[in-house]
C-alpha cells in the first residue's frame, strides 16, 4: 500500500515538473502525429487495394488500436522502465535507488513520467470506439469489460517488455536494439490479417510475447469473429504471466549488477 502511495507521489512530482515546462503542448502534438501517421501505410494500402475477403480496414485498425492503446498505457505509467537502459543505468542513478529502503520497482517505474504520452492512449481509445461503431458491434457490459481487461492485460504485457529490457540492460546496453521487435515493431504485426499470418509469427506473438492475446483475441470475442468467447478474457492472465517472467529476469539483472557494479 505504501508502495502505491509512493508511486503516486512520484507521479505528482513529475506532473509539477512537467507543468513548469512550456513546450508541453508541442509534445502532445508530437505524440499525436506519431499516432496518426503510424498506421498511414496500412490505411493507404486498403484505400488502393480494397478489403481482403472479410478483412476490412476497420477490423485491422481495431486490432492494431488495441495493441497501441496497451502500449501507450505502459509507456505512460512505466516510463521509468522504458528509459532505464538508456538513462538511469548510464548516469549511475541506479546506485542512488539502491540506497533507499523501498521497492526498487516503484522507484524505477516512477523515475520518469511524461503526461503527454497519454495522448497515445486517447487516440487509441478513439480508434477502438470508431472501429466498433463502424463494425456495428453492440457494446454490452460484457464487451466493455472484455476490452477493459484486455487493455489492462496489454499494459502489463508491454510493461513486462520494458522490465525485461531493463533487466537485460544490466548485462549489455549496446546490443539492446533488437528489443524493438517487442515494442514498437510488435504491433506492426497486427497489420497482417490473422488468417494470412505465417504460423511462426502467430505462435510467437501468442505464446512467447502474448501480443495477439491482448489485441486480436479480445477483438475477435467482442466482434464475434470466433465461437470461443472466453479466449478474449485470456489477456489479463497472459499479461500477469509475462510480467512475472520479466520480473524474474529483472531480479537476476539486479543481482548481477550488485556483484559486478558495472
Amino acid at each position: 500500500m505504501s508502495s502505491v502511495r509512493l508511486y503516486l507521489k512520484y507521479l505528482h512530482l513529475h506532473l509539477l515538473t512537467g507543468l513548469q515546462y512550456k513546450g508541453w503542448p508541442l509534445m502532445v502534438l508530437q505524440v499525436l502525429i506519431v499516432v496518426i501517421t503510424d498506421p498511414i501505410g496500412i490505411i493507404l494500402l486498403f484505400y488502393r487495394f480494397g478489403s481482403i475477403g472479410e478483412w476490412s480496414v476497420e477490423r485491422i485498425l481495431l486490432i492494431y488500436a488495441m495493441a497501441v492503446t496497451s502500449f501507450g498505457l505502459a509507456e505512460t505509467f512505466c516510463r521509468g522502465f522504458d528509459y532505464f537502459p538508456w538513462r538511469t543505468i548510464r548516469t549511475g542513478d541506479f546506485d542512488r535507488l539502491l540506497l533507499r529502503p523501498c521497492s526498487l520497482f516503484v522507484q524505477v517505474a516512477g523515475s520518469y513520467f511524461h503526461i503527454h504520452r497519454i495522448s497515445r492512449v486517447f487516440a487509441g481509445l478513439g480508434a477502438i470506439i470508431w472501429c466498433l461503431w463502424r463494425l456495428e458491434v453492440e457494446l454490452t457490459m460484457l464487451h466493455i469489460c472484455t476490452i477493459g481487461l484486455a487493455l489492462i492485460g496489454g499494459c502489463l504485457v508491454y510493461a513486462g517488455v520494458f522490465v525485461l529490457t531493463s533487466g537485460l540492460a544490466f548485462f549489455t546496453i549496446q546490443s539492446l536494439d533488437w528489443i524493438f521487435i517487442f515494442t514498437n515493431a510488435s504491433y506492426q504485426v497486427t497489420r497482417c490479417p490473422i488468417d494470412y499470418m505465417p504460423q511462426v509469427l502467430r505462435r510467437f506473438f501468442t505464446f512467447v510475447m502474448p501480443m495477439l492475446v491482448i489485441s486480436y483475441m479480445p477483438a475477435a470475442a467482442v466482434c464475434g469473429w470466433t465461437k470461443t468467447y472466453w479466449l478474449g478474457l485470456a489477456a489479463l492472465p497472459a499479461g500477469l504471466l509475462f510480467l512475472l517472467f520479466a520480473t524474474l529476469i529483472w531480479r537476476i539483472g539486479v543481482r548481477h549488477y550488485q556483484s559486478t557494479g558495472s
Binding site: 512530482l13 509539477l16 515538473t17 549511475g92 539502491l98 540506497l99 529502503p101 556483484s259 557494479g261
Partner: protein
C-alpha cells in the same frame, strides 16, 4: 563491539581492453581482450560508533568500491562485513534505512522543483512519521541555514546552497552512519565551513559515525581524527592524521614569487627546489629549520615579491607513500 567491521574484503572487476596500434579501432570491432582488475585486495578495518574517519586515496584506488560495499550496493567477492549487526548486501533494504550517503557530484534533489518537494518525497521513501519529520526538518534547516531556500527550485541554488540542502536530505531520516563522497568539492568557503560545522555537530550530539572520502586536506584536518589511506586496493595506512603527516609529509613548502626568473641554486636548509618561470617552490623540514629562518634566507638570496607557506597536499603524500611501498 565495533559498529562497522570489515575483514579480508576482496573485489575484482573485469574490463575489456581495446587492442592498440594501427587499425586498432577496426580490430576492436572483432577481438577484445579481457583484463581483471583488483579493486579491493584484502581490506580489513573496524570503526566504532561515533568515529569520524577520513578515507583518502587517489582516484581509482578503491575508495568508492569500499563505500559501495559498506552501503550494500555491491557484493564483495570474498570477505566478511558486518555493519550494525547486518551484512549490508544481504539485508540491503533494512540496512540502507539506517545509513545516509552524500555524493558531492550527484544530486538527489529534484532539479526543477522547490527543495521542500524533494524532502517531502524522502519523508515517504524513508517512512518518517510526520511529527518527527517536521521536527527534524526544522532542526536541520536552522543548523544549515536553509529555511529561506526551501521554496526555491533547486536549479536556482548556488552550488554551496545546494550542497547544504543535499546534506539535509541525507540527514533527514537520522541515519546512524553517514558516508560522504567529496562533499566539499567546488563549493565556496562559507558553505564549506557551515557544512563542516553541521557534520561536527551531528557527530557530537547524535553520535553519527561518518566516513568521508575527499581530496581536500582541510576537510580531513578539521573533521577527522583518524585517516585511512587506500591505494591499488590495499589499505596503506590506518591511524592518526598527525602521525601520517610526520611520517610521510614532514615538509612544508614555500611558494616564492620573484620579481624576475632566477635559475635555481642551493639554499641552506632547503630539501628540494623547483623553479617555474619566476616562481620557486622550496621544500624544507620545519623540525630542522624553523619556517621564519627559511623565509629570511630566501629573502636574502632572492628578489622576492610575495610568498606563501603551505603543507604538502594529500596527493603528494600519497605519491610518496607509493614510492616507499611499491619501489
Amino acid at each position: 563491539m565495533a559498529q562497522i567491521e570489515l575483514r579480508h574484503i576482496c573485489k575484482t572487476f573485469t574490463v575489456s581492453l581495446r587492442p592498440e596500434g594501427r587499425m586498432s579501432m577496426l580490430r576492436g570491432a572483432f577481438v577484445r581482450r579481457k583484463k581483471v582488475i583488483k579493486a579491493l585486495d584484502d581490506i580489513s578495518f573496524t570503526i566504532d560508533t561515533g568515529e569520524l574517519v577520513g578515507y583518502i586515496g587517489p582516484n581509482g584506488a578503491g575508495k568508492s568500491t569500499t563505500v559501495k560495499i559498506m552501503s550494500g550496493i555491491l557484493t564483495p567477492d570474498s570477505g566478511y562485513c558486518r555493519i550494525m549487526n547486518r551484512i549490508p548486501w544481504q539485508e540491503r533494504v533494512a540496512h540502507v534505512a539506517r545509513i545516509g550517503v552524500v555524493f558531492g557530484q550527484r544530486t538527489q534533489l529534484w532539479w526543477d522543483l522547490p527543495v521542500q518537494d524533494s524532502f517531502d518525497l524522502l519523508k515517504d521513501i524513508y517512512s518518517i512519521p510526520f511529527t518527527s519529520y517536521k521536527h527534524r526538518l526544522h532542526e536541520l534547516a536552522t543548523a544549515l541555514d536553509i529555511s529561506a531556500l526551501l521554496t526555491t527550485p533547486v536549479r536556482q541554488l548556488s552550488l554551496g546552497q545546494r550542497m547544504r540542502c543535499e546534506l539535509a536530505a541525507a540527514l533527514l531520516h537520522s541515519p546512524r552512519i553517514l558516508f560522504l563522497d567529496e562533499p566539499t568539492i567546488g563549493i565556496d568557503a562559507v558553505s564549506k565551513l557551515a557544512l563542516r560545522e553541521i557534520l561536527k555537530r551531528e557527530n557530537r550530539e547524535n553520535g553519527v559515525t561518518m566516513i568521508l572520502t575527499t581530496h581536500d586536506m582541510d576537510d580531513v584536518e578539521t573533521l577527522c581524527s583518524r585517516v585511512m589511506v587506500i591505494g591499488h586496493g590495499r589499505l596503506l595506512y590506518d591511524g592518526k592524521l598527525h602521525r601520517l603527516k610526520a611520517d610521510y609529509a614532514p615538509w612544508r613548502s614555500i611558494r616564492a614569487i620573484l620579481t624576475e626568473p632566477v635559475t635555481p641554486f642551493h639554499i641552506e636548509g632547503a630539501e628540494r627546489i623547483k623553479a617555474e618561470g619566476n616562481v620557486w617552490t622550496v621544500l624544507f623540514n620545519p623540525d630542522i629549520i624553523p619556517a621564519h629562518i627559511m623565509v629570511e634566507r630566501l629573502a636574502r638570496a632572492l628578489p622576492l615579491r610575495d610568498l606563501v607557506i603551505g603543507e604538502q597536499n594529500i596527493d603528494e603524500i600519497i605519491a610518496k607513500m607509493y614510492q616507499e611501498m611499491c619501489l
